[in-house]
Symmetry: C5
Subunit: 339 residues, 5 copies
């Protein structure tokens, strides 16, 4: 299918600790005990971001420390998980799929993001991380001393991260929406086989996007409606908002699907329409010239006894008959609205 | 897509205060303290209508005063919200989408309307407001001293406003219904490519309308069935009525969709039918004249030794043979019901 | 769309009072106090049938007397209501749509019937009433001293009236079923454009019927399953029966829809089949006669030096070559199963 | 539609009484008091089978005796009932539809079977009964002294009868499955209009079968999951089993429907494919011979001054030109993969 | 349909007993009392694998001993059961369908696996067993002294077996996915009838796979969400995981179905496109050469009085007229974008 996976084996641990007064940042942490002590510090909300999931030792150490089911190791490292939310004794585990449009390949790329929400901390584990990733804007907002992150707990951080993942989907959707709109005019006024193949590719993209986004809705439904560990009722309104966004994404995809189906119908029927026109031209031409050719054929015969041939105006009579035939045919076709 | 947004940055605050005995109107209020005092006056039902949502200061002042979640600011100013209803401590928040048919552009326009229902007051915030907007008829009905508004509370006002938004959708629907009915006859009796493109546009309109109207149903379902703050059980019957109306709108859209699908099928099959007719004419003509032309071709050959050419009635024999061929062919085609 | 409304402004009030021993009938009652006293008489079950709903005064008087929500006035007089059931303090309000096939116009007509069930009385309000309407058979059954009506309360009367409305739909369905069955054979053996248009009209009728009948199911579901005012558990079995009937109607409509969709496919594919046959004939004719005409054309050329022309049997050779070409072609086509 | 009803007005009452030790059979009982005493005998499980439902007197007598709702009379005698289950004070009422394939007519026949389960007895009422009907195998199994019937109560008997009705549907399904499998190869390798009509008939059979079988599922769902009168929890496992069987039947029908839809698509596309091939042949022939005929036409003209005609090798030049044209055309078509 | 059953009448009983410290293996057990004693041994988790289900004696003996409903015998030996889970007094009964791709036949093979989970034991009954079957990897993992099997109870074993059955489906799915991807390019760039038949076969495979896999989801839903006998809440997380896997399988199948539907549409429209191109060529050729042939026909006539024939440059005029006609036609077709 059209999903590609990219791997980056290096692990990169960044930590941001913040409370209403101060923000501290740590890059490329290698000392796991420092990491644990930061997570355990009750004065700060700690966001640990792990890029690259292959260092299973680090992960296992953390999971053991956080008393999470070691079964999660497998799920975090298996990159084809369905987005979902699971509750554990002390923490909440969320798996998301982040979609991105690979410009060079013209394909949709998916990346898995695992999140562990505990008391005062949030751990995010990305398959691969780049400088300038989707979470950068959240980092900026955390540093804003008057931003909402500074007033809320780690569950609000979880929400803004999920929201930024959804926003990324919106971007793909908008791009796709523009492409479909472009296709729309082409399909109606200049349908070609190449446009049709494009339509097919958009259709497949919509199928894949829907498959990837649908489970996110279940995740947000759980987070916004049920009583979930570490999610305070005051932040649930933000999750409800994200749920509305994802619902909008799905409804938009659904209408894309219907619009593409409609475009295909337009293509097929305009194709059949052009066929009709072509055939009409052929039939008109044939119907006019076949009888004429037959008439000239008659007087091209070499019989000894063909009196018409010796009439003085025989030739002109034949030419007149031909003209009459043509005129009659044209009138008939005009009446039938073929020409 | 086919939705356009229009912006008018000026804010325009109008207030109507009324009770069973009297009605007072204030236009273009700028004094926010006066506004607050009007809202707080327990002797009146106060309807505050804010046109243009860009004046965030005014809105924030109001929301703070009404102890509503400041998160709402974003939702009111973000014009792509899904219609929904949210309950807060002291008030109820409703977002609607009002659809309108832009005559100049031939497209469907959508506008967002936010409503805050509190104890004795209703605040409506429109993206843009024009003199003569959809709420004008409600203003007239409030002024009627024997009208129902004067007997009920602000929740009835909320209902009539929602009802007038739905009525507007009905108008679009009726116009669309008429257009589809016109298209129906054309599609059956004079199908053309232009008609097909029209059909496609109606289809897309139905898709967009359904997407816009569907969430309204959830809103009215909540307001009419659940126990909602500030909605009295005595007014719920009116919300139930609006719910029935919106259900009817959706069912009508659904049947539009099916009728349009049926029309496309009619178009495609009448197209294939006409192709059949055209091809039949072509085949009849070819089948008659190709053998004839061949016969005349034979006697147009210049062989020295062609005895038929010297027969006295050779020419007449050939002409007779041709007539026999034509007659036979016509009989065959008649039997096959091709002509 | 295909629904027509007919109006008859005159109001016509008929009353039947009955108990297990006696039946009394009143026609064209004009004295409203007499009407009220009949309704209030606890010794009789009273069925008030009002034909024509335009006399709002009579209705308002009745509704006020029966302590019903005056809001109902609007609903009874608005002829585009969705069928539904509403419970009030003292009475139950039911709106139905009765479908009828207008023979003269070949279209489906719908009429709204409102019913108010109270303690010992049933009021039915028809848009328009004719002598010999759908309720006549119920009137006869009431007069039968051993009939079930005489044993049961007004809720049984309500059920038989609803049942007679459903029975009327059954009649339309049967007629439609017969028409579809007729169409079936035509579509398979003699498909024409006229048959296709007919198919499209049946399809649209099915869409409209389904839209009209679907809400009736909700009504009967409520009446037969929930605890509803004035409906005794002993009569609920009859409502359950009506529910089964309406479910059957809907399932039949659903299978009509699928059969019509199947017929369209048959039409399209038999059309494409006939096109194939026509084209095969054309191709066979062209492939046989085009080479032949070319051969005669060669020997119709006037070159000085064409030795074949002076051969003694040149003509017969050419004729033989033509015969060989024809035979070869025919064998090839036979093998390809084109002829 | 394709369902036929057959009637046999004679009533035929057979009774089998059995317990773990003994079996007694009575044929053509006419003494109703004997019948009642057999039913009331607490030492036996009594199965009363009534063939032909027209003797309303017998039925009414029985229903009155069994204290069942007399309303059932109508339902038993009305042959178009939807399968369902209804609970009464002392007994359970089940209506089933038994499907059978009428070999002579090639159509699906449906027959209604009503069943009344009481304390220690089961009454089955068939529209029509033949020697060697679907219940015969159950009769044999009852007579088997080690069979399960002898250990269980009448509810187990009810289950085996329902199971034998379902098994009959399975037989039709298997036959239909074989027919579809045959059609499959034909459709892919030798599609004809006759095959298409066959496909349409199978499709309609699937629609009718589904409509008939779907309600059976509801019946078995009720019997196997809810607490139902006279159904012991120990026998519910057998009803669950029947429910699984009927679910399988429905899933099989669903996949039949999809396979038939796929076959139609195969037919249509192979048809369009063959059309393409035919048209390609026609175009190739026309494109080759039309220019050739034109060339020969030129030199068939009778102008006085046509120098080529008097060239010594003019004729051979023209023939060579013709060959070159043909070769060039063939190469072009070869490259375009048309031949 | 495309499912084949293979039978191997020999029964082969293998037992693995294990606890956290030790593993014991028994092959081809024939002594049933030994088998019972192994199952009853509370110190071990005992996995009994029975290959071939025809030895009903062994099975009946076991079922009696395990106090299971003897009704199960029939279900285990009937190879067309729907996957499901049933709870009994002392044990849990699970029926699965294992799918396999038969390489030699190119068809999907299904095999039924029954499982009985009791206190400390699991019995698996396969229709047929081969050395190197799907359970071999589980056997290896049990033998791993640090594996999870050694820490958990028999319910974990049940889960890993179900998981390995699902994994097998994944393999088929991946193979099918690759085939569809290959088909994708072919369909767009070189559509042929053979590719279409392949597409149809994949489509039918998807239909059959979905029918087979769908019920598995219900099974895992029950095992992972409800309180089920012998399934500990600690192992339910693993069943939830399997549920996610099977959900993914179903969603993948669903997207396969949609992609195949899209490919068919691409095929049909590229077919209609090519037809258009072919017809355009035919029409262009005919429209150019038919008038030309008519012109040459005129001057091939043998009238005595045809002055043009005696003009000095008559021949050249006619040739020029022909060239003008051709040029004009080509310009017209160029403008119409036909060539």
């Amino acid at each position: 299918m059209a999903q590609i996976k990219t791997f980056r084996p290096e692990v990169d641990i960044d930590v941001i600790c913040y409370n209403s007064e101060t923000v501290e940042e740590y890059h490329n942490i290698t000392d796991l005990d420092l990491l644990i002590s930061l997570i355990n510090n009750p004065n700060y909300i700690t966001w640990v971001n792990i890029d690259g999931t292959h260092c299973s030792y680090t992960l296992e150490y953390l999971l053991n420390h956080l008393k999470m089911h070691t079964h999660l190791m497998e799920e975090i490292n298996n990159y084809e998980q369905r987005p979902r939310v699971e509750e554990f004794e002390d923490s909440l585990f969320v798996i998301l799929t982040m979609l991105d449009h690979d410009l060079k390949m013209g394909r949709i790329k998916s990346e898995q993001i695992s999140m562990i929400l505990g008391a005062g901390y949030l751990i995010t584990i990305q398959e691969t991380g780049k400088p300038g990733d989707v979470f950068d804007s959240v980092r900026l907002r955390i540093k804003n001393p008057k931003g909402k992150h500074r007033k809320f707990n780690a569950d609000y951080l979880l929400n803004t991260l999920i929201e930024s993942v959804i926003d990324r989907s919106f971007t793909i959707l908008e791009k796709l929406g523009d492409l479909i709109e472009d296709l729309e005019d082409d399909m109606i006024y200049q349908p070609t086989q190449a446009k049709l193949n494009q339509l097919y590719h958009y259709k497949r993209d919509v199928i894949l996007l829907r498959r990837a986004i649908w489970p996110l809705r279940e995740v947000l439904n759980t987070l916004s409606k049920d009583e979930v560990l570490h999610i305070q009722s005051g932040t649930q309104i933000y999750f409800r908002d994200s749920l509305e966004h994802i619902t909008q994404v799905i409804e938009t995809l659904e209408s894309f699907r219907e619009i593409l189906a409609g475009l295909l119908e337009v293509y097929l029927s305009s194709n059949s329409n052009r066929l009709n026109n072509v055939m009409r031209v052929l039939t008109v031409i044939s119907t006019i010239f076949m009888p004429l050719t037959f008439i000239t054929g008659i007087y091209g015969m070499n019989f000894d006894n063909m009196p018409e041939l010796h009439w003085k105006f025989g030739y002109y009579v034949v030419i007149s008959v031909c003209l009459i035939v043509v005129t009659t045919m044209l009138i008939i076709f005009k009446r039938k609205q073929w020409i």
